[in-house]
Every structure is written in C-alpha cells, then in structure tokens.
C-alpha cells in the first residue's frame, strides 16, 4: 500500500480541481491532485465546441483548449498529479483511500478540496415508460461516443430536455449528418442558456417542444420511435396531444447531479443542491474539507467554476498552514435561505463576527443563486431581519443563468446573527416600470 502525505489534496482534476490546486500551491502548500481519468481536464475534454473562457481569457476557447491553459499553468508548479487513481473513501480525519493500477494509495492531507464534478440524471430518475432497447443515451455519454470515441450512436434523434449538453449535441449531430427530429422540454421555457437555443436549435431549424415530455419509448431491441405529449401545470400528460416521431435514438439531457458518494462517506452534510453544505469559506461541516465546481453546484460557465475553485484552493491552503477558518457548525453561522422565487442560494450559512484581519485577508464573499422560473423586471434582494444587505435590479432572470454577486466584509460584519438572512425576488412596482419607459 502506497502512503503519502500532502498539505492539500484535491479530489478531481477537472477545471475546478486544476484551478484550486494552482491556487493552493500559490499559498505555499504541497498539493496533490487525485484524478480517476488518464488525463486532466474533466468534462471539458469532450466539450469540443467553443464557448469557454470568454470572461477569463477574453477568447472563445474550445473545452480542451481551456483545460490546456490550466494544465500548462499547472506544469509550472510543483503540484503532484496522480492519474488513473479513483478515490473510494475519505475520513473526517482527512485520510483518503484511492486505488490505481499500482495498488491502494493512502493519502493523509491537512486539507481537502472536493472537485469531483457531477453526473447526468438518467431515464430511471424521471420515470419514462416503454421498452428498454439500445438507443437511449444520456447526452453526455453520446457526446463522449461522438467526440472522443468517434462513433455515431444513431441516425435520427429525439432529445429530451433542453439542457445545454442536449442542445449542443443537437447541433453536433446535425453537423455529422444525423437528423434531430425534436428537442422536448417539460418546462414552459428552455432549461439551458438562451445563446445555446439560438445557436444550436434555431439556426438549424430544430423544433423545440416546450411543455412536452416523452411518454413512451418504442422498440424492443433498438429504439424505433418516441411518443411525446403535452403536459399540464402539474406535469401530467394531456391525453390526445401525443405526437409520434420515428427515430432510432433518444438522448436525455435532463439534469446533472453532484457526484457525492465520497463526500457522504466522510460524513459531509448535503444541501438541497445535492452538493455539500458550505459557508462563505466554501468549507463543509467537516473542518478542513472544501468544495468547489460542479460537485458544489452545477455551473453553466467554466469561468465561474474557476473563480469558485480558486477561492476553495486559497482557503484550503490557509487551513493547511494553520489558520483556523470559522466553522459552519458554529453558533455564529447564520443561515442564508432561499426565499420567494429563488431555487437555491449558496453559501448555505454565513459566519458572522469574523476576525477583522482574517476578513480583510479573505475579501468580499461571493453569493450565487438561481431563480425558480424565468422572470422579468425584478429586484434580487437580500435581507437580514429588517436590514437590507443587497439589492439589485434585473431586466431578465432565468434558471439557466446563475446570478453571482459580492457581499462586502463590512456588510457581513453588520449581520445580526439572531435573524436569518433571506434572498428573495421582488417585482419592480408597475409605477417605477412605466416611469422608466417614459423616461
């Protein structure tokens, strides 16, 4: 059994893990990345479309190009990388047990960054009836087949779910000469980014059926067709609205779930996002264990992943060098709750009364949230009792676009810990709106 000690262990070598590792290394720590694949870059390796790093590098890079920038940066550090090594277990004492082709590896870390990314939801998770033939794939699996293995999983497709991966695959498959008959979405609005709807569906004349879902998979051996139908507000199928598409493949792009097996084993509490509960230091309930990237919350932009991950890396380095960060379990940690119109908000708790020197070293705190459904002309407000913590107007907000804003150290220090902090939406009064129009 190989044994190893490191200041900071980073589990996962996708964009989150890479950014966190580089940052932790800057903080003066020895760092080890443990990655189960044979290469770094995570999900980006199969995302060969452009659209990465626009904010960070002011360029539209393809996924692998973006990853390469970070891999190059990593090359200039002394970060140790263990590839082909899968973490299977982790203890609250920060002992990691992993396996690779040489045997079992035991890594004792002072701090850990969780960066395991997420997985796709499957057919079973959403109860699609019918047969169980070949030809039903999650969009990400199909993406891997096409972009990495070089095989076409079908010739005629129906795609369920208008998530980004599904829409990107619709375009990719069309380019490959396949026919995408329809993209079907149970919600009344597309669940991915608008830019993807325009560039991947509209530009190719691929119809998007909103408020529809798949009600039957046909074909015992291979998919021979898909029946979709309209749904009502309660997502119940409306009889008589069935449409049949003859096709050989059904792709599912119905959501991503953080990869949280290993976190569970270490006793890490999970939030509604299915990712770990964290405070503003991205620290979980197990002290010295931090989380970032898709394992914490599903991101749509890799730039935001990088920002979050750098912070996690910096925090882990501080912890590993002996600086105790306030705990989410402390009575000074005030819940930040999702109020009206908000799907979720992170961090789950905000520690108040943070030592001023520490607070200024850490800087402002990032809050991220998603709205429940598309809304126009609203304020995002954050209140602590009667006190206003944050208020900003938004013309459009969609669940597919994460809202990120900063709370200053000063604002946080003024928090009354007897009251929860609540984030909610408030429609802009009609009067203000009409005045704005006139003006």
């Amino acid at each position: 059994m190989m044994q190893k000690e490191t200041d900071v262990a980073v589990i996962g070598g996708g964009p989150a893990g890479l950014a966190a590792a580089i940052e932790a290394n800057k903080g003066g720590c020895s760092v080890t990345i443990i990655e189960r694949d044979d290469g770094l870059g995570g999900i980006l390796q199969q995302c060969i479309h452009p659209g990465f790093g626009l904010h960070e590098f002011k360029e539209e890079l393809a996924g692998p190009e973006y990853a390469q920038r970070y891999i190059d940066m990593l090359g200039e550090t002394k970060v140790d990388v263990m590839l082909g090594t899968m973490v299977l277990d982790m203890t609250p004492k920060k002992e990691i047990l992993a396996i690779n082709e040489q045997g079992v590896v035991k890594v004792q870390a002072k701090a850990i960054v969780l960066a395991m990314g997420c997985r796709e939801r499957t057919r079973g998770a959403i109860k699609i009836p019918g047969y169980r033939p070949t030809g039903v794939y999650t969009a990400g699996t199909a993406q891997r087949f096409v972009n990495i293995e070089g095989f076409m999983p079908g010739t005629r497709y129906v795609i369920l779910g208008s998530g980004d991966i599904g829409m990107i695959m619709a375009r990719r498959l069309t380019w490959e000469g396949a026919k995408v008959e329809a993209v079907v979405e149970i919600m009344s609005y597309p669940s991915g980014l608008i830019r993807n709807k325009v560039q991947c569906l509209d530009d190719f004349g691929i119809p998007l059926y909103l408020s529809h879902t798949v009600v039957r998979v046909h074909g015992k051996d291979r998919v021979t067709g898909i029946t979709i139908a309209r749904v009502d507000e309660n997502w119940k199928m409306v009889p008589g609205t069935e449409i049949f598409f003859s096709c050989d493949t059904l792709l599912l792009s119905v959501g991503l779930i953080p990869e949280n097996e290993v976190s569970r084993k270490a006793g890490i509490r999970l939030a509604r996002t299915n990712g770990p509960e964290v405070n503003q230091f991205l620290q979980t309930n197990v002290e010295g264990v931090f989380a970032c990237g898709n394992v914490l919350q599903v991101h749509d932009l890799v730039d935001n992943v990088a920002i979050e991950a750098k912070r996690a890396g910096a925090m882990a380095a501080m912890y590993a060098t002996g600086i105790r960060l306030p705990s989410i379990n402390s009575p000074d940690a005030v819940p930040l709750v999702a109020g009206r119109g908000i799907g979720y908000v992170l961090p789950i708790k905000v520690n108040t009364g943070v030592d001023l020197a520490l607070a200024s070293r850490i800087g402002p705190v990032n809050v991220s949230l998603r709205v429940k459904r598309p809304v126009d002309d609203v304020y995002v407000r954050v209140k602590n009792g009667a006190k206003e913590v944050y208020k900003k107007f938004f013309k459009h907000l969609r669940p597919s676009e994460m809202v990120i804003f900063e709370l200053s150290a000063a604002a946080l220090n003024a928090i009354d810990k007897a009251q929860p902090i609540e984030a909610y939406l408030e429609p802009k009064p009609a009067k203000e709106l009409s005045e704005a129009k006139v003006a």
């Binding site: 997985r119 009836p129 293995e149 076409m152 490959e176």
Partner: protein, 494 residues
C-alpha cells in the same frame, strides 16, 4: 452428435435442470433463443425465495416451493450466489381483517414452515420502522429470502458447463421432429439431435410442447411492472407483501439482495408474449401500491423501471413431468411465481421423471459441485484490494464508479465458463452499469474491453441480441483516418 438431452430454455428452470443432470453420466445441451442465460422472465422478477405458505395446498407450486426453500443455503454457498434470508411480512391493514393472515398461518403450520402472527404495533415497527401506521396485523415468515435471480441462473449454468453440459445461444427452436428413437431440434443456424427433450422455455413452453406433438396446455403472459430505487441502507428491512388479490401476490416493497429497494409488481394479463414494456398507468399503480405499505417511500431515489412476464398455464399450476402424449418429452412448464423459489426442486422432480420413464442415469464419480469464486472488488477489505491490484493491475482500474467494478472483474466475467459476450452479459455478471448512473459512465469503457477480449471491432459489440447494436458508423472525422491506416497512406484530417 446425438445428445442424451436437449434442454430448451436457459432461465432458472433450464439451468437448474442442466446442473442437476450434470451430476450424471449424460450428454446434454441447453438451447437458448436469446443471447445469454436468464434473459427473459428469470431476469425481471421480484427475486424472492418464498417461505412456501402461500400456494394452495396440494399444488405443485406449494410442494416445489416447500421442498426447494431449504436447499438454497447450501447451493448458494457452493456456487457463491448472494442470498439473504431477510424474512417476510404479509401486512394486513386496518379493515382488511385477519382471515387471510390466519389462513396463511395455517398453511405454515401444516407445511412445517416457521410463521408467527404479530399484532403489537410497536413490535411490528421495531422490525420495520418505516411501515405504515395503518398496519393491523402481520404474518412473519423468517425463512423467506432474497436472491439475485440472474446470478442464480448464471452460477447454475457455469457449474453445469464445468460438468460437461454445452450451451448454445441466439438459437431459437423453430421446429422439432420426432424420429421415434430421437428428436431433431431445428434452429435457424443449426439442428441438434437428442434422445429426450426437456421443455423449460418459459412463456413459450406451450409452443415448444406443440412442436413436439403435445398440445395439452396453453401459456398466457401476465405482466408485472417494477420501479427500482437506489441503495438505501436499511430503510426497508424485510420483504413486505400486502394482502393479495386473486391475480397476484400484490404490490410489494422489498430490499434486493444487493441492498436496493424495489416496488412492484402489478399484474395485467396481455396477449403478447414479447411486450415487456412499462406504461405510465402501470408505474402509477406500482407507486400507489408501494405507498400503502411504506407511505413515505422516497421515489426520488428511483434509478430504473422494468417489467417481467409471468408464464401462466391453463392449469394455473406448474406442469412437471413426462408428457402423456409424447414420450421422452419432459415438461417444466407454466413455471410462474414461485418458480424462482422452486427451481431446485423442479430440477430434482424432472430428473426423477426421467428415471421413471426408463432412462437409466448413472451418477458421475467426479461431479464438481462448485465454481471458481468470482472476485468482487467492492466487497474486499483494503489490504486484499491492494494485493489484488498488485497481482493484476486490471483490478486497480475502476470501470463502474457507482458499483465499484474493476476491469479485472469484467475480464473475468468474459473469460469464465458460459462467459459474457454482450454488455448486458457483463452487467448481469459484475453489476457494471446497474448503479445510479445506469451505465452512462461505464458503457463506452465496457464496450472497449469486450471488443478487445473477443477480438472484434467496437461497433460489433451489442447490448443483448444481434439487433441491439450501439453504433451507426463513425463520425466524419474518424472515417478517413481509420480508413487511411488500412491502406497505409497518410490522410490529413479535415
């Protein structure tokens, strides 16, 4: 070659008979329509080894179940089949009365099966904390157990094969000619000659029987649908039955032997023997039934749904023994529930019928009752995992992240006797792809390993039958370079 026996069908019944016959000095072949063992009813059922109090007294079902139940401990040890006697509860809700429970209790007493009636709510809740508060009385049967039905069939087949029984797959029997001293069994690719036929063809047993000249019964399919949930610790501890209806034992909630939880099955008669699709209303029915027993069952943990077809015979009982019309045709037909719980006894009964028909069977001296123990990485302690990976690095390479299955286990599943030839074959032998991501992560990797081990191209690998291909050619980018490498010239990529 002229075989002593042709066994038609490789479900639990056919494989149990094959294994029982392999104890004797005989030549036998199992002829299976589909790509592997346990591809039909034997893979889609509740996986319960019933205690035996349920079926009507005097029926084959009752006799076979009671005889077989105690046999599972030894055979599961010999053949390394996971089996757990969790015990079962038949749950009568308020207002359903106690008559039924008492009748079953009587059966238990008459048949020498341990049973007890429990009325004390606190005692019931202690056994099954999440059970409905509506429960009035339960029948507890500690000898009921759960098993993986396909592992049972696979292990029986492997062991039969080690002891000389041959297997042929993708070979649907289309005609049987009775030549007097032997039969000719026709499949599309090949014909087989055998002195006796054993009919273990499940839903199609009436058709096989008719091909051999015996039209004395009919089989009709009755569908049962399921929802399978993720592993949930001990949220559900025992096999929970409701008070049944005429058609089925009702919708149960039960752990599987691997620690998942399932809801189902419902019961619907249908005409088609091929339609194993699930339906919206069927799944709703399953959910409704399940909630009657465990009201807060977390359906968000659902990972898949599926359906199986019961082979209901016109006698409404198992049909076992030599045909009265066609000598040397032995029936193991109408094996509906509790067929899984009964297959070991049925196999013994069929062999007895063979002997009674005048065929002489001589025991082998060198029968091997066991099979090589499969390595299951996920169940090993860390020290053994380490040693294993150092011995063979394929055991340090995780292919299925949900079930923690290594490349080494997949290679082992392919190379074993009656080994895996398909993605589902690997899945049912190793649990690859059975977890919460349902193969999203591992399928491309399993296809690669299968292709390498079998020496074929990746796009020739199938899920099950030849008609279940994964791919439709290559992407534009790959077409040229791969073609180029064949004739050796360099072609630039577009």
């Amino acid at each position: 070659m002229l075989y002593d026996f042709a066994i038609i069908g490789a479900g639990v019944t056919g494989t149990a008979i094959a294994r029982e016959l392999s104890k004797y000095k005989v030549s036998a072949i199992v002829i299976e329509k589909l790509s592997d063992v346990a591809c039909e009813t034997s893979k889609a059922n509740s996986g319960i080894i019933h205690a035996g109090y349920d079926a009507p007294s005097g029926s084959w079902k009752a006799k076979m179940n009671v005889r077989s139940n105690p046999l599972y401990d030894d055979i599961c040890k010999e053949l390394y089949i996971p089996f757990r006697r969790l015990g079962s509860l038949v749950v009568a809700l308020a207002g359903q009365g106690t008559d039924y429970i008492e009748e079953l209790y009587q059966h238990g007493v008459e048949r020498d099966i341990p049973v007890e009636i429990i009325k004390e709510l606190s005692q019931i809740k202690k056994m099954e904390p999440n059970i409905t508060d509506d429960v009035e009385v339960v029948l507890h049967a500690p000898t009921a157990g759960v098993i993986s039905p396909f592992t049972l069939a696979i292990a029986l087949a492997e062991n039969a094969n080690i002891n000389g029984v041959e297997f042929v797959f993708n070979a649907p029997v289309q005609a049987i000619e009775n030549m007097g001293k032997f039969f000719i069994v026709d499949t599309p690719g090949k014909s087989f000659q055998a002195r006796a036929i054993i009919n273990a063809s499940g839903l199609f047993a009436d058709e096989i029987s008719r091909m051999a000249g015996d039209e004395s019964f009919k089989i009709t399919p009755r569908k049962g649908e399921y929802i399978l949930l993720d592993k949930m610790g001990d949220y559900v501890r025992k096999v929970l039955f409701p008070v049944p209806t005429k058609k089925s034992k009702g919708i149960l909630v039960s752990p599987t032997v691997d620690g998942n939880v399932f809801l189902g099955p419902n019961a619907r008669d249908q005409d088609s023997k091929l339609d194993n699709s699930t339906s919206l209303h069927g799944l709703d029915e399953v959910i409704e039934g399940g909630r009657k027993l465990i009201p807060r069952i977390p359906l968000v943990e659902s990972i898949t749904n599926f359906a199986g077809l019961r082979a209901v015979s016109s006698t409404n009982d198992f049909i076992i023994g030599e045909s009265k019309v066609t000598p040397k045709l032995f029936q193991a037909a109408g094996i509906q529930s509790p067929g899984l719980s009964s297959c070991l006894g049925i196999a013994e009964e069929v062999v007895d019928a063979v002997k009674a028909s005048g065929i002489e069977l001589k025991l082998k001296e060198n029968f091997n009752p066991t099979r090589e123990k499969p390595i299951v990485f996920a169940e090993l302690p860390w020290s053994e995992r380490d040693a294993l990976a150092q011995w063979n690095k394929q055991f340090g390479h995780i292919i299925c992240r949900c079930e923690t299955v290594t490349e080494g286990e997949i290679v082992q599943a392919i190379r074993r006797p009656v080994g895996a030839r398909t993605v589902d074959g690997v899945k049912f032998r190793t649990r690859v792809g059975m977890g919460r991501c349902q193969g999203g992560f591992c399928t491309p990797r399993v296809i690669k390993i299968l292709a390498r081990e079998l020496g074929v191209e990746e796009d020739e690998i199938v899920k099950r039958e030849p008609s279940t291909k994964y791919f439709f050619g290559e992407t534009k980018e790959f077409r040229q370079p791969r073609a180029a490498s064949v004739n050796g010239s360099e072609v630039a990529r577009p």
